[in-house]
């Protein structure tokens, strides 16, 4: 099953070519080619490589989260999870091949083609939060808006794509970025580090974007118990589901808002992973109960 699934991932319909990046990559920073779309910044190979390497390293340094890396004083300014660094890393590593593969995966699916034709954007103006909150309990839109509320973010916090040269691929990247919160709703994974890493593993198996794979280095910053859960439960779930399910990039979210989440999951072929919030809550309860028991017993012994 997995073999055929991975073969499906790497195979492409014969009529659609995977175009590679234009070979005119060796321009000087003083003489950049004109932008291909609004906000486009063409980077040459050296800049792209530096951006990829530096953003990869910097996004792992996170003193507030108790990172294992020592942070020099000059870099103390990194106090929050730098989403923009991860976004830059994603764009810098998406070419060559990976973003083109994803675009072609969209082109080979009817819904994906409609998304590419219509180019819907997910912003607070196109997605009315108030209307989403009125949707039925287990619907896609309701789950999405509850994730946003829980994390306290709006769909406008996503950076726009700058460093991808092909205009259509830039839209594909933008669509992937904007749909990320929907993937949380779809898989039911929560928004703290453990859930994010599990979701990234799933996305890597499904979309094959390098940034999602590189984000897995964040497991070095998880606690041992979290890491065990990841190896035992979430990584196997992510790999098997990511490879066998349909491409989640092809979902036309704007049309699926009122639909039941389980229904959509069945259609895409995604199983629900073990509920992470429930697991952590019950483990915390068990620990607390054990601690109380020890205190009580300790108290008896002292008598």
């Amino acid at each position: 099953m997995l073999e055929t699934a991975s073969r499906k991932l790497f195979a492409l319909p014969p009529l659609i070519r995977v175009t590679t990046a234009p070979s005119t990559r060796s321009f000087s920073v003083l003489n950049r080619p004109p932008p291909n779309y609004q906000g486009h910044v063409p980077l040459n190979a050296f800049e792209r490589g530096t951006l990829a390497a530096a953003s990869a390293v910097l996004s792992l340094m996170n003193p507030r989260r108790g990172g294992r890396f020592t942070v020099p004083i000059l870099l103390q300014w990194i106090l929050i999870l730098r989403e923009d660094l991860i976004a830059a890393l994603g764009e810098a590593t998406a070419t060559p091949f990976f973003i083109y593969r994803l675009r072609d995966a969209m082109l080979s699916n009817p819904t994906g083609r409609r998304v590419l034709r219509d180019r819907p954007r997910i912003t607070s103006s196109t997605m009315s939060m108030t209307k989403l909150r009125t949707l039925p309990e287990n619907s896609v839109g309701r789950a999405y808006v509850s994730w946003l509320d829980r994390e306290g973010v709006s769909p406008d916090t996503r950076d726009s794509v700058k460093y991808i040269d092909d205009e259509e691929c830039a839209y594909v990247m933008q669509r992937y970025r904007e749909s990320h919160d929907f993937y949380h709703a779809l898989t039911g994974l929560p928004v703290f580090v453990e859930g994010e890493v599990a979701l990234k593993a799933f996305e890597f198996a499904n979309t094959l974007l390098p940034m999602t794979g590189l984000s897995l280095f964040a497991i070095t910053r998880m606690k041992p118990a979290e890491r065990t859960r990841f190896w035992n439960a979430y990584l196997p779930w992510a790999v098997s589901n990511g490879l066998t399910s349909k491409d989640i990039i092809n979902v036309y979210w704007e049309e699926e808002l009122g639909r039941d989440v389980d229904d959509l999951r069945n259609e895409l072929g995604i199983e629900r992973p073990p509920d992470l919030r429930e697991t952590r809550k019950s483990l915390k309860e068990q620990k607390r109960a054990a601690k109380e028991k020890r205190i009580r017993m300790g108290g008896l012994r002292a008598d």
Partner: protein, 321 residues
């Protein structure tokens, strides 16, 4: 020749002779291309005329009325990481430039005790985070033993001023009563009376002003006769080799560092473009003279002082008595 080689050569020849195939274009790209072409026919570059004057914002041409707000938004976004970014962009040398700048002005009156009316009135323009103001205060107090001179720190951007106030509190000069803060546009210092300032300093700020001649005229107005105008700004390099390296650093590394450190490539792209747009040493000295200042050293042919080969430059002017 063997058959495979023959086939390969003939295929290559065919490809060269035939007209090139049009690039594969998907449906959405074709639609967008059509839209863009239509858009290009409709869109015109902003016309420059008396009704809507335009000015430059980096390499862009924008209506003059909007430049102020655009610059404001650039500095609001850079305010919090300003120092770190300055250190990274100039590799720490901006501290040397600022130190030299203050020392070459030599502000303060020697052994001037605290008292009414004594001491200099110094106005630091675009000095929001207080880099120059604190150096001037320390020079007056520690080098010249001047405890009376007062400094007004002025900036158009309240976020930069807030950063400066925070640093004044941490640094210890906040309670001294010798620092005051003024949120104002350098082209319209109506809060400052005529002939009231002994020293007017502006470091790395004047290239962002919408109208430099107006700022120079305001400087002339508020300075006392005999007062000194001092400006530290980026300028043109003397050596072509250094210039080649410097330009590549400016346009390649600085926006990249801006993206990595501040998450804001556009602001730093604007900053390097505004450096590129600023007039050279000779032209800037001419503008200072045109505002009415006397430039020291102009007769000997040294009307300015280049720092580090022209990367930064100190210009001075004296208001005639």
């Amino acid at each position: 020749m063997s058959t495979p080689t023959l086939t390969r050569t003939s295929t290559r020849l065919t490809h060269r002779l035939l007209p090139p195939r049009p690039p594969y274009r998907c449906l959405s790209c074709s639609r967008l291309l059509a839209q863009q072409q239509q858009h290009q026919h409709q869109q015109q570059p902003p016309k420059q005329d008396a009704q809507n004057p335009t000015t430059h914002f980096g390499f862009q041409t924008v209506p003059s009325s909007s430049k102020q707000s655009r610059v404001a938004s650039v500095f609001t976004s850079v305010a919090s990481s300003y120092d770190t970014m300055n250190d990274l962009m100039s590799l720490g040398t901006h501290r040397l430039w600022k130190d030299h700048f203050v020392r070459s002005i030599d502000p303060g009156i020697r052994d001037c005790a605290e008292g009414n009316g004594s001491g200099q009135t110094i106005l630091d323009i675009a000095g929001g985070t207080g880099d120059i103001a604190f150096r001037v205060l320390e020079h007056c107090t520690l080098v010249k033993n001047d405890h009376a001179s007062k400094i007004i720190v002025s900036d158009i951007n309240p976020d930069m001023l807030a950063e400066g106030k925070r640093r004044a509190r941490e640094g210890g000069y906040g309670q001294s009563g010798r620092l005051s803060w003024l949120e104002a546009n350098a082209e319209d210092l109506r809060a400052m009376p005529d002939n009231s300032v002994d020293l007017y300093t502006v470091a790395f700020g004047i290239r962002n002003f919408t109208s430099k001649p107006r700022a120079l005229r305001e400087a002339f107005r508020v300075l006392k006769p005999g007062g000194v105008f001092a400006c530290l700004e980026f300028s043109k390099l003397n050596s072509r080799l250094l210039e080649a390296v410097y330009k590549r650093w400016s346009f390649g590394a600085i926006p990249l560092i801006g993206q990595l450190v501040a998450g804001d490539r556009e602001s730093y792209q604007y900053l390097v473009e505004s450096i590129e747009r600023f007039p050279g040493q000779e032209e800037w000295m001419g503008m200072i003279e045109e505002a009415g200042f006397l430039v020291p050293g102009v007769e000997e042919g040294k009307g300015w002082e280049d720092l580090m080969g022209g990367i930064a430059c100190v210009h001075k002017g004296v208001k005639p008595l």
